[in-house]
């Protein structure tokens, strides 16, 4: 056995042990890249250098054997200096792209950099420290060090929202974005400042750290949040939608959208959705394949039956046309959520009518009745189309409850349904597509046509009303236009067809 001293501690090691092995045995930190216990010694990275007392030059620990009485250190100033320069050489051609590198967090080079790296810039002056992770308002986080003082956000609150919360305070390199007395930046359009921030100074609480943007696709469409119908882009991947941003549209919404509209992606994702069709099976609703439910409904004889149809302003005009044709002669009811606010307008973009297509519904179906007079028990068949943005319908649950009085119920819903006990003869429930899963048009407050585009398929079993009508009228032999990457759907899997 050999006695030696490592970083001031005395140890005994077996003859033939290298210095690096002794360090490992003691669980002392020592940097090494080329050395590996299972491989031969290369001695090329030069980062495991140690100082040995009595030896004027530093030695590499991996290729030096311990001798009796050696006094070894890798924490001396001389070693640190050498390691710092060694690291510098390793980094000459290294991209230092740790933020997007997959090894980040378990990378030896990164760890070494954290210890010995050059944190200060080459400028003679020190960097000015500013406020970070500032809770600027309920929807926004500020990092003042990232800010380049372009003043876009300040001018936005002056010129567009006209709320004047933001300012650039202090002077020169101490200049900083902020609000008076740190009052929260909280207006109906505040997240636009995040969109126009050219750097990472202002970030959205809702979106930050949710997804890397290069993993998201975006689709140009229309916001279904109110009757303005702002042009927007929905950002999505195959898991669902993550955010909505305004898209330039000079005639309609300029470059902006309201903060409320940014929430419209929240009801389209799987966790909020009805995922499969259901039919009534001995008093209980149970999931069936879409084709099965369609077949089941088609076999129901609608001849001579009295039909009541309940609709909201949340579907496309194409869907209304199809449903009008399918149930010609039925009574159509218009379910309005907040009629007294329908004409409200904040002067910029937000309107009180939280439906994108109230005008489309009114123009398509001429003799609409008010849903207040709707009574499900008056009809042999009740057709109810639940609103996709159910959050803006205060009487949503009430209405759902009232459908229990139906004799036969055909129910469409994009949203997950609560447990329902039904005493109807027949019930068919179909999952409905949301605005990101279909094409079509809305007629906005000014009766201008606003197009929506299919972004992705989130619920593969979901149908649009016009697709449903077409499928029923053609006896199921319809190829419903699903997303291209999702060819395997129910409609190519109909029993008896191959």
């Amino acid at each position: 056995m050999l006695k030696c001293t490592i970083n001031g501690k005395e140890v005994e090691v077996k003859e033939g042990t290298t210095i690096i092995e002794a360090y490992k045995e003691m669980q002392e930190d020592i940097a090494h890249y080329c050395w590996h216990p299972g491989l031969s010694i290369a001695g090329v990275c030069r980062l495991c250098v140690v100082e040995i007392e009595g030896n004027p030059r530093l030695q590499i620990a991996c290729n030096t054997e311990v001798r009796d009485g050696m006094v070894i250190s890798n924490v001396s100033d001389k070693v640190e200096e050498a390691v710092r320069w060694g690291l510098d050489f390793h980094l000459i051609n290294h991209p230092l792209d740790c933020p997007i590198c997959d090894q980040a967090g378990e990378c030896g080079l990164q760890e070494q950099y954290m210890k010995y790296g050059q944190y200060d810039s080459s400028m003679a002056e020190n960097k000015v420290k500013k406020r970070k992770v500032v809770d600027l308002g309920p929807k926004i986080v500020l990092d003042a060090e990232r800010c380049i003082l372009c003043s876009r956000c300040v001018r936005f609150t002056e010129e567009i929202s006209k709320t004047n919360e933001l300012g650039i305070f202090n002077r020169g390199d101490h200049s900083m974005i902020g609000t008076v007395k740190d009052k929260p930046l909280d207006n109906d359009y505040s997240v636009n400042t995040v969109d126009i921030c050219p750097v990472g100074a202002l970030t959205s609480k809702d979106f930050r750290f949710q997804q890397r943007v290069w993993y998201l696709e975006n689709t140009a469409t229309t916001c279904p949040g109110c009757s303005t119908g702002c042009s927007v882009s929905v950002y999505h991947n195959k898991e669902g939608a993550y955010r909505v941003k305004p898209r330039e549209d000079k005639e309609n919404n300029g470059y902006w959208m309201c903060d409320e509209g940014r929430n419209v992606y929240k009801f389209v994702n799987k966790e909020a959705r009805l995922l499969s069709a259901k039919t009534l099976n001995s008093g209980k609703l149970s999931s069936v394949r879409l084709a099965q439910a369609l077949e089941d409904f088609t076999s129901f004889n609608r001849e001579g039956k009295k039909v009541g149809v309940l609709l909201t302003g949340q579907n496309t005009t194409e869907e209304y046309k199809a449903i009008l044709e399918m149930f010609a002669g039925a009574d159509f009811f218009h379910w309005k959520n907040n009629e007294e606010k329908f004409n409200d307008f904040d002067g910029l973009l937000k309107r009180g009518d939280k439906n994108p297509n109230t005008n489309g519904l009114i123009e398509t179906i001429s003799n609409l009745k008010d849903a207040k007079s709707f009574n499900a028990s008056n009809y042999d068949l009740t057709v109810a189309v639940m609103p996709e943005n159910f959050l803006v319908y205060e009487d949503y649950n009430e209405k759902l409850e009232s459908l229990k009085a139906s004799k036969n119920l055909l129910l469409f819903s994009a949203a997950k349904l609560p447990k329902m006990e039904l005493k109807t003869e027949n019930t068919w429930v179909f999952p409905l597509k949301t605005f990101v899963e279909k094409e079509g048009s809305y007629l906005n407050h000014a009766k201008t046509e606003r197009r929506i585009q299919k972004a992705t398929s989130i619920v593969t079993e979901a149908v649009a009303l016009n697709e449903f009508a077409a499928a029923v009228s053609r006896g199921l032999k319809i190829n419903i236009n699903h997303h291209e990457s999702r060819k395997q759907n129910e409609f190519t899997n109909i029993p008896g067809q191959y």
């Binding site: 300040v154 002056e158 004047n164 300012g167 650039i168 305070f169 202090n170 002077r171 008076v180 007395k181």
Partner: protein, 158 residues
């Protein structure tokens, strides 16, 4: 009208507002007025002024924070600003600052415990030919030595 801006100050501010082409030009004279009254300009005063002038408080705060002559926190009865720019520095301006701080047991920018003195080290006050010099409230004192400076301050304190 309010605690922070007295009625005759409001009258002054209103006059200033119509004196210039743009009412924003009246921000600086108005801030001076408030500072003359309180010795400094608080954020609360800025908010009051915003109501009087009908200018967003962020815009007024930008002005207050830009100019160093507006005090962002309370100062003592004597606000001593010692110049430490080239001429004054060469003639002992920095040492003079430290001497006064030590004499009144106060740190730069803070108010002495008896509330009489605040010492600040400042950039050029445009009196280079009489270096070193200091400004106490709005008056210049020039060609100073450590002793003469303290003598002046002592006289003003009593």
């Amino acid at each position: 009208m309010s605690e922070l801006i007295k009625a005759d100050d409001v009258e002054f501010i209103k006059k200033e507002m119509v004196r210039y082409e743009d009412k924003y030009s009246a921000i600086i004279p108005s801030l001076y007025k408030i500072q003359a009254r309180h010795g400094w300009v608080s954020e609360d005063s800025v908010e009051e002024l915003s109501k009087v002038m009908e200018i967003p408080s962020a815009d007024i705060l930008e002005v207050r924070n830009f100019y160093t002559m507006f005090n962002q926190k309370p100062v003592g009865k004597l606000h001593i600003q010692v110049c430490t720019n080239v001429s004054c520095a060469m003639n002992g301006g920095r040492e003079l600052t430290d001497h006064i701080c030590k004499k009144y047991n106060v740190k730069k920018g803070e108010v002495s415990s008896d509330g009489t003195v605040t010492v600040n080290q400042v950039e050029c006050l445009g009196s280079c030919d009489t270096a070193p010099m200091m400004q106490i409230n709005d008056k210049y004192w020039e060609n100073l030595t450590n002793e003469s400076a303290v003598e002046i301050i002592e006289k003003l304190r009593s």
